[in-house]
């Protein structure tokens, strides 16, 4: 998978980057207005028309219909960032073209006819946009897009018109999260034209200290400007985190090292772990490892374990319904099997 190797450092806290383009075809009603039969026809036509995408673009892809994918697998695809929650739960016909490591996906007849997404580890929005543009142009050679000069790419939701683009970066901010001014910082980034959200946990709670920043506006601002803004704010958040972590390594070295080793101990030997605990300990271990306070054989796998510990993945592995206790037990086993050793 695209996220199997995430390497962080005290001064590099970028987990992943994502570009999403929303497009509609010019000669068809938007998805909300299509009957199931019409939607199926549109999906078949699109998948058929794009059947040479693998050879033409040199990416190995498979096409599928979401109906044929189990509910648990769809939720797992949501946890793996392939689908958003709406798509994972969508009941009407939806198609998907996905490549082997899942860093490229084309959802057909989601909210819009086309939802093209490119993903990568670290901070690499420009490369992702280039990749997405290449695929976008390829689709556009086969289908004319709904577009006008005033509103740009025409999308179902008024919040996506214009570029139809969402650019997002996920950062790991364990020290920032615990700092006093963090909630202030979060509410202030809006002024710079970006939105920020915690990835795990509801409301004010956050487990795992992962935050995604993205552009809320899509009209009247070019793709390049959007990327520049998102990257600028990501860099500022990263610099803020680095500063805090550098001083923690010096002033509270023993505490931080102890936290990392204790986290490793729990993850290595626990027999039962809640999602909240698993994410929190993985986050502490990730920070300790990035700061050079603990050496692990599987350092670069810690982020992929944050996806692996999600219930959807554990249910998928078990292949049967599980009680909450059983999930916690299987979660602990999954971690023991994947955490590796101390170096």
């Amino acid at each position: 998978m695209w996220y199997d190797n995430v390497s962080l450092n005290t001064d590099y806290n970028y987990i992943s980057s994502r570009i999403r383009l929303a497009r509609n075809f010019n000669n068809a009603l938007f998805p909300s207005k299509l009957s199931d039969t019409e939607a199926k026809k549109l999906i078949d036509n699109t998948i058929g028309e794009l059947s040479n995408i693998s050879t033409d673009l040199g990416i190995h892809t498979n096409a599928d219909i979401l109906d044929r994918i189990s509910e648990i697998e769809r939720m797992s695809m949501y946890d793996r960032k392939v689908l958003n929650l709406t798509l994972a739960k969508k009941k009407t016909p939806t198609g998907i073209i996905l490549n082997d490591n899942e860093d490229i996906s084309i959802v057909i007849n989601g909210d819009d006819h086309i939802r093209l997404q490119t993903l990568s580890v670290g901070i690499s929005l420009y490369e992702l946009l280039e990749k997405a543009n290449r695929i976008d142009d390829y689709i556009n050679e086969h289908f004319e897009y709904a577009f006008n000069e005033k509103y740009g790419y025409l999308t179902t939701y008024p919040t996506n018109i214009g570029t139809g683009m969402r650019a997002a970066i996920v950062l790991h901010l364990p020290a920032s999260t615990q700092s006093k001014g963090f909630s202030k910082l979060i509410s202030s980034v809006g002024r710079f034209g970006v939105a920020i959200k915690g990835l795990h946990g509801e409301g004010r709670e956050n487990h795992g200290a992962l935050f995604e920043i993205s552009n809320p506006k899509t009209l009247g601002i070019s793709e390049r400007e959007i990327l520049d803004t998102v990257i600028k704010v990501a860099n500022q958040l990263n610099a803020n985190e680095r500063k805090l972590r550098e001083s923690l390594i010096i002033e509270k070295r023993l505490e931080k090292q102890d936290e990392a080793y204790k986290s490793f101990g729990v993850l290595k030997y626990a027999r039962k772990l809640s999602l909240k605990d698993a994410l929190s300990f993985l986050s502490s271990l990730m920070a300790g490892s990035a700061d050079g306070l603990i050496d692990l054989t599987n350092e670069s796998k810690l982020y992929s374990m944050m996806i692996g510990v999600q219930s959807s993945n554990l249910l998928k592995m078990a292949g049967r319904p599980l009680s909450e206790d059983e999930i916690d037990e299987i979660r602990a086993k999954y971690i023991r099997d994947n955490i590796g050793e101390l170096l």
Binding site: A28, E141, F147, N148, E149, Y157, N160, G162, A195
Partner: protein, 189 residues
């Protein structure tokens, strides 16, 4: 920061909203505007949704003007009514943007801080596919079309009138519109 609705008082109700599963928008209102309007006050309910807010913004404009014909406008291509659009905040097809253009322009500006696209343009995009001029859109206010045939028939009458008046620019626009509707009728999947 000023309230995004009245743009007079200082905003003191801030909230963020998750839309279509993966995006988040920030909104800022003053307590008066937030409390006054039904749609806004629903933000204190748990099930507050962005579409409700947008509906608030969109709906409010025309309720005040007591201009109920606006509410009757129907997109001839996909049958989305302006009321539906206000309720769901969803466009049903590309023609909705032309039909509702004048009604939504200010509100789009409110959402995005801008109302004109800059950035990528599809390679095969034809420049003549522009937003229709005001006359055509306001015409549709007087005539609530329920199907393409009626729409075409009506446009044909208008085309004849335009030719009689030697208003060829208008005639060309009407001709293209008829053509588009006819083509779309055949092409729509």
């Amino acid at each position: 920061m000023l309230c995004e609705k009245c743009k007079i008082r200082e905003a003191n109700v801030f909230y963020t909203e998750i839309i279509d599963g993966d995006q988040k928008n920030e909104h800022h209102l003053c307590s008066k505007c937030a409390g006054e309007i039904d749609q806004y006050s629903s933000l204190f309910d748990k099930d507050f949704s962005f579409s409700k807010l947008l509906s608030g913004i969109l709906g409010d404009v025309f309720e005040k003007e007591e201009n109920n014909e606006y509410r009757q406008i129907v997109c001839p291509t996909c049958n989305t009514r302006y009321d539906d659009f206000i309720k769901n905040s969803m466009f049903g097809c590309k023609d909705c943007f032309e039909v509702f253009n004048l009604l939504i322009n200010d509100n789009i500006k409110q959402i995005h801080g801008n109302d004109t696209h800059v950035g990528k343009v599809p390679k095969n995009y034809h420049k003549n596919d522009k937003i229709l001029p005001k006359s055509i859109v306001t015409d549709s206010i007087d005539n609530i079309f329920n199907n393409e045939d009626k729409k075409i028939e009506n446009l044909k009458h208008k085309l004849e009138d335009a030719i009689k008046k030697e208003d060829f620019a208008q005639a060309a626009i009407l001709r293209d519109k008829i053509k588009t509707i006819k083509e779309d009728k055949e092409d729509v999947v």
